[in-house]
């Protein structure tokens, strides 16, 4: 077990190093320096600026400097276009995005589990068909399509839900559009693994012993059906992070996702770099935890 955790952690660290290197060197390949704006700077000013930001050093040295600052001083640099500290921007954005993302994840997991179990227990009946129909539909709509359609229908046409404003944040529509796809996926996952579990011998034994029906479902079937769902948590977090970029932009939530999109539109390279590395670390860590938890809760898996 310890060996497995160590091995996975080392792989995760390597991944993060590779991601940071890719990010740094690809950003470096972009033509034009940060100071080639519309206004031509005088060569002396430009040289002074480049000296100040250490842009004259060889690229690998710059990379090492960047990583050293990032690790030891938590310094992600300053946004080239905004002039704000990148880490501050990320952390302010995260406050909103984390609430949104966690809410979406919770909704997806709870609703997905319930719908999937209901579908499995009512296999072949009309309720099952309806759930399967909607989950197929939900996996076919990209999150930005869903988000804009929700905004159009509920906020603009029907006026049921007010559009987002900083003073009066309303998480309903963003959470729905973010959680729909993972919810549908978890529903399908739960349904198949629940059907699998219900066919097992120990369920028949429990029923034969006269265990109450709800106990059979919750204690024996659902607990085993949960295991495959756990593996999806890591990918789901990655999906929610990337999905939140468009959803936040559509609803102008003002979280990290929206900051990232505007950094892309403005070609603010330090901001793109900082956010990519930050989000990548988040995703890698989420995957690492998912994998380890999976191994712990599933005794059938061997630790090799």
């Amino acid at each position: 077990m310890v060996k497995y955790v160590v091995k996975r952690t080392i792989l995760a660290v390597i991944t993060i190093i590779i991601i940071s290197a890719i990010t740094f060197f690809t950003m470096y390949a972009v033509p034009g320096g940060p100071f080639d704006g519309e206004k031509a700077l005088s060569p002396a000013v430009k040289a002074a600026l480049e000296e100040r930001y250490g842009l004259n050093d060889p690229i690998p040295v710059q990379y090492l400097n960047y990583m050293r600052k990032l690790i030891f001083e938590q310094d992600f640099g300053v946004g080239l276009k905004t002039g704000r500290n990148v880490l501050d921007t990320i952390l302010t954005g995260m406050k909103v995005s984390a609430v949104l993302g966690l809410a979406a994840a919770a909704v997806a997991i709870v609703c997905g589990l319930v719908l999937g179990s209901v579908a499995a227990l009512n296999r072949g009946k009309i309720l099952d068909r309806i759930i399967v129909f909607f989950s197929t539909l939900a996996t076919s709509a990209p999150s930005f399509v869903l988000a804009t359609l929700l905004l159009l229908v509920f906020s603009i046409t029907l006026r049921w839900v007010p559009a987002w404003s900083a003073s009066n944040p309303n998480y309903i529509l963003p959470v729905i559009s973010l959680s729909m796809y993972p919810m549908a996926y978890i529903t399908r996952l739960t349904k198949t693994s629940m059907l699998d579990a219900l066919n097992q011998d120990y369920i028949r034994t429990a029923r034969a012993k006269g265990v109450a029906s709800y106990k059979v479902i919750f204690k024996h079937a659902l607990r085993n059906a949960l295991i495959p769902v756990v593996t999806y948590v890591g990918p789901m977090i990655a999906f929610i992070i990337t999905g939140s970029m468009v959803v936040e932009t559509i609803f102008s939530v003002g979280g990290l996702g929206q900051e990232f999109v505007s950094a892309i539109t403005n070609r603010d390279y330090t901001m793109i770099m900082g956010t990519t590395i930050f989000l990548a670390i988040l995703m890698v860590v989420a995957n690492l935890i998912t994998d380890i938890v999976y191994k712990i809760i599933d005794p059938r898996i061997s630790f090799d």
């Binding site: 390597i14 590779i18 972009v30 539909l137 930005f144 905004l151 468009v246 070609r267 995703m283």
Partner: protein, 356 residues
């Protein structure tokens, strides 16, 4: 009992032929094959055709492909052509509702007595026919989906079959590389590479065939080729590892068949169903990614439309012209839904292990 039967010696272990009699005609008929022999492919297709959802999605996809090939021949507008009447730019033709004409067009029709092709989906904010733009957007999305999937298939199958067949150290190293690429957050890397490649490629491809594709589109394919093949490679490798253990592969090896021939003739055909299914499911995911990137402004370059960029552009005038969002949105959902259902149908039909 006939006499031409050889007589059995008492202690011989020979079979006593006297105990056997020729089969009667009725018994012979039992050996006849009643139904036509079928191949794995035919059997799968028959099962696929019995699945109404899969057949429905095939019909939808064929209709879509027919529309996007035929419509540009019939409709007299171009996807980047700003509406003009009698050679002059029609300034009143912006954001027309479906099946309406601008004032200038109405006047022109009255004067000349000719009819004008209707704007089926209206026009966009620059006075371009929206129907033809959605048609071209669908073309772009489908082409990206298909070619990206084929690219992923080629790289993944090559890589996976080499790793799976070679085994040992080669396999170990190749799979470690896979693991690392697999653990990269793909969409983040796609965004990053698209940002960089769309900036840098422009100069490099100037004057070549690729220039017409646009640097963003090319960046998209490069990104797919770099990152998305990993899933396919793992799948193929796993399948090959199981197929490799079969006796017929051992037999082929003992008679000295070359490894490349064993791979082509014996192993890959047995992995074909897995490959087909995952390609069918790869198409919608490629279309998803393309529309996502176009939505972020990293997809195909203007004026070429894609479904994602059309939906993004429609966002600006959501309150006034909501149908401009609805058309591309519905088409994306339709394509993705059809491919998902087709992929599910293919899996049910061609993957014997999943049959229940």
């Amino acid at each position: 009992m006939t006499n031409d039967m050889p007589k059995k010696n008492l202690l011989s272990s020979q079979i006593n032929l006297g105990k056997f009699s020729p089969a009667s005609d009725e018994e012979k008929r039992q050996q006849e094959v009643m139904s036509k022999s079928t191949t794995f492919f035919k059997d799968g297709m028959k099962k696929l055709m019995r699945n109404p959802l899969a057949v429905g999605s095939i019909v939808v996809l064929i209709l879509l492909i027919l529309t996007i090939t035929i419509a540009p021949m019939i409709i007299p507008y171009g996807y980047e052509e700003i509406n003009n009447v009698g050679g002059r730019r029609d300034r009143g033709a912006n954001n027309l509702a479906p099946f309406t004409y601008s004032e200038a067009e109405l006047k022109w029709m009255e004067e000349t007595g000719e009819s004008r092709f209707p704007h089926i989906f209206g026009t966009d904010n620059l006075g371009r026919d929206y129907f033809i733009r959605v048609i071209y957007g669908t073309r772009v999305s489908l082409v990206v989906g298909f070619f990206a999937s084929i690219l992923v298939m080629i790289i993944g199958v090559l890589y996976g079959s080499i790793a799976g067949y070679a085994g040992g150290k080669v396999d170990l190293i190749m799979m470690r590389i896979c693991d690392i690429i697999y653990s990269l957050p793909d969409l983040l890397m796609v965004i990053l590479l698209s940002v960089v490649l769309s900036e840098t490629l422009g100069e490099a491809i100037k004057g070549t065939v690729f220039a017409s594709l646009g640097s963003n589109m090319l960046a998209l394919f490069i990104v797919f080729g770099l990152l998305y093949w990993v899933g396919m490679a793992r799948l193929v490798r796993g399948q090959i590892l199981t197929v490799k253990e079969n006796e017929y592969v051992l037999a082929a090896r003992t008679i000295g068949t070359r490894p490349s021939r064993i791979l082509r003739k014996h192993i890959l055909p047995n992995c074909l169903s897995v490959i087909i299914i995952s390609v069918a499911l790869q198409v919608p995911s490629a279309i998803f990614t393309e529309s996502y990137l176009s939505f972020l402004g990293l997809g195909v370059s203007a004026p070429m439309p894609s479904l994602g960029s059309l939906a993004n552009a429609a966002r600006g005038a959501l309150t006034s012209y909501p149908y401009q969002l609805v058309f591309p949105a519905v088409v994306i959902c339709l394509i993705v839904l059809a491919f998902n259902l087709l992929g599910d149908g293919l899996r049910d039909a061609f993957d014997p292990k999943l049959r229940r």
